[in-house]
Assembly symmetry: C2
């Protein structure tokens, strides 16, 4: 019963994702959103309740589609796990035809004081990336491409930080040569984190 919805929710969320990634939550006005998604405020508020609601739906969609998709393609599926890790990094630099670089997770983490309820979504996305690194590292260790005593957990956290840092530098507009050398450093650093030999420090 009733009228049929004229717009596709996936397309609207994809547009919203792009807009929020580009401008941030505070930087994207509802007029911008209306223009980007084609949705009038009434439909928007009927469906998502508020700008916050739309943002959270877009963040969830980003985690579900973009993040998990990238993790699967680059970290879980490749036969060569180390090559996958490398392509995970380089694909954040060479974004191809996409106009603006960066990652909605990174941006939202930084903007989190304007969006306290978004913390959970950010944590989910970061955990998915970290888990992907851990999986690839475990497989690399099995294949003999990484030291047998590699500390997978610490290295995964290390790569997550490096990846987020790369996205900051991408966003800052640093030259591509610098960004690629960060990738090289990331690959070279794999293998330096060994031996869960108990390390005692900071009290």
């Amino acid at each position: 019963m009733g009228r049929k919805q004229l717009w596709d929710q996936d397309e609207v969320l994809a547009s919203a994702m792009r807009l929020f990634r580009h401008r941030g939550y505070l930087g994207a006005s509802l007029r911008d959103i209306e223009e980007a998604t084609g949705l009038h405020p009434g439909s928007l508020y009927r469906t998502f309740g508020s700008k916050d609601g739309l943002f959270h739906a877009a963040l969830d969609a980003y985690n579900e589609r973009v993040v998990r998709g990238r993790v699967r393609v680059h970290l879980l599926e490749p036969a060569d796990p180390l090559a996958g890790i490398r392509s995970f990094f380089t694909s954040a630099i060479e974004t191809g035809p996409e106009p603006d670089p960066g990652c909605l997770l990174t941006n939202t983490a930084v903007e989190s004081f304007a969006l306290p309820q978004a913390a959970a979504g950010v944590h989910h996305g970061l955990a998915a990336i970290e888990g992907g690194f851990a999986d690839a590292l475990t497989r690399a260790r099995q294949h003999g491409d990484a030291p047998a005593d590699l500390d997978v957990g610490t290295t995964a956290a290390h790569l997550l930080a490096l990846y987020q840092g790369l996205l900051v530098l991408v966003r800052a507009g640093l030259p591509r040569t610098t960004l690629h050398s960060v990738t090289d450093g990331a690959m070279a650093s794999i293998g330096s984190l060994r031996a869960p030999r108990k390390q005692d420090d900071h009290e």
Copy 2:
């Protein structure tokens, strides 16, 4: 000639720095600024011309005082360069009494599409950090605390990315244990970047 200025520019910029770091450029309204600095809009516009002008002055002051200060204390001056690098990282996690964590450079890089003219300031600050890392690494190599064939330039870029990534994760509110393991990973990865043996890749 004329009346004496009743407020201290350094104090005002310090307050503005804190506010912008906490809320971001878009998230800090002029009413917030007025409350934080004690400056009425008239004086503010007389001195800085606009909200942008104040932001740029605050970013410059941040580079000049906070960034360069931290680089000097942790990276240039310590007799033990590696210990200095470690404390540079840990001091970003354990901020002490300061209420909110993070770095104005990181945040501004992410927010850069709202602030295109801030790119230069961000570049300056990042270059200062990278240069500090390079200095500390060079000295560590001289002291024999790092491999003689360490690629200082690439490692400095690597540490810069790691540091920015750490600040994103701090901002995301990840547990301190995770953050400290990133620091451990950073220290362990020093030494894995050797040999400027020409590396041919990505066309």
